[in-house]
């Protein structure tokens, strides 16, 4: 399924004379519900944060996809968008925020700094070379900073990832 297609409710409609019955799997419905109401944590450490704010604003408006409830507390957030450089001093804070988020939780690494250290990859005394050294990342967005459209694409990609199957924790604890 591509981003341009209409994402339908999972399952089939079983037609009956008096109307239809939806037949579906509970897991699929849970994933569908989860993916359409992801609450992001208000977290931005540098210029990517400006693009993030732009996406939250009226022009790009990520509330169209269910991301509008930005939370100031990690306890209420589902997804953390690492918008900016992570320095050594910030790394334990990021880890702590991630640990405080309730399951299921998702991580988007936004921009070159969060992916690899970006422009600070060489000759640095303070920058973590990729946020995935600290916490696991679900979706990476390239750019310095990425365009708002790129972040929207990443958010939609995350939704598709959630709809397509199990969470990281479910895979880890799944009985084969």
């Amino acid at each position: 399924m591509t981003n341009t297609e209409q994402q339908s409710f999972p399952g089939q409609i079983h037609e009956l004379p008096s109307g239809g019955i939806v037949l579906s799997k509970l897991d699929d419905i849970i994933n569908w519900a989860r993916s359409n109401s992801l609450w992001p944590l208000t977290f931005a450490t540098s210029c990517c944060g400006i693009e993030y704010m732009s996406v939250a604003g009226a022009k790009y408006d990520f509330s169209r996809f269910g991301f509008e409830v930005a939370r100031a507390s990690p306890r209420q957030a589902d997804v953390i968008i690492i918008a900016g450089t992570i320095v050594n001093k910030m790394a334990p804070v990021l880890k702590r925020l991630y640990d405080q988020m309730g399951d299921p939780k998702y991580v988007i690494a936004m921009g070159a700094c969060a992916i690899s250290g970006g422009p600070f990859f060489y000759n640095t005394y303070s920058v973590v070379k990729g946020a995935d050294h600290v916490i696991p990342v679900d979706v990476y967005v390239a750019g310095c900073p990425p365009r708002p459209e790129a972040l929207l694409h990443a958010l939609i990609s995350l939704q598709e990832k959630i709809k397509s199957g199990l969470t990281r924790e479910q895979i880890k604890t799944a009985k084969v």
């Binding site: 050594n88 001093k89 060489y122 000759n123 005394y125 303070s126």
Partner: protein, 167 residues
């Protein structure tokens, strides 16, 4: 009496004689030096004198001059007279093996933060500072990153052609 650079210089030389030196106009700001042990006397005079009235510490930072043997580290005070918006710059030099400078944090509250920063990045030991610990970098760091003791760039890289960076 307007607060001209000449007036400030006369006033300082009248008070400290040859203990203040190297008056130059650097980027339109009067800059001068004093021996490191005199820094508090000069700062207090600039702060307390009714005609000078440099009551605001704009900025405090350090500079590393690796070529000035015996006085490698400079501490720079940027002072401002709030009423006339006059700014001056005071520099003191200290050897890098024993970079002791008296703290100005009792005179300017701003200096508390700024001296911690200068300590963090350059290792200037501000004698008498109430809480001289790292402020920006991680506590575990065991070096002073902005000293000019490290190669400027990764020496093995060949893709950073100087021509492309205007050097």
């Amino acid at each position: 009496m307007t607060l001209t650079n000449e007036f400030i210089q006369q006033k300082l030389e009248g008070k400290f004689a040859d203990q203040v030196s190297n008056f130059i106009l650097h980027y339109d700001i009067l800059t001068f030096e004093t021996p490191v042990e005199n820094n508090l006397k000069v700062l207090t005079f600039l702060h307390d004198d009714a005609e000078l009235g440099f009551t605001y510490l704009n900025d405090l930072t350090a500079v590393h001059y690796p070529d000035r043997i015996g006085e490698e580290l400079a501490v720079v005070y940027m002072l401002q007279n709030i009423k006339t918006s006059t700014r001056i710059r005071l520099k003191v030099f200290t050897p890098i093996i024993k970079p002791d400078v008296f703290t100005a944090s009792n005179l300017f509250l701003t200096a508390n933060w700024l001296e911690r920063e200068a300590y963090d990045f350059f290792g200037v030991n501000f004698v008498g500072h109430p809480n001289l610990i790292r402020i920006m970098n991680v506590d575990e760091m065991d070096y002073f990153p902005l000293r000019k003791e490290y190669p400027l760039e990764e020496q093995t890289r060949i893709d950073k052609d100087d021509d492309m960076f205007g050097r």
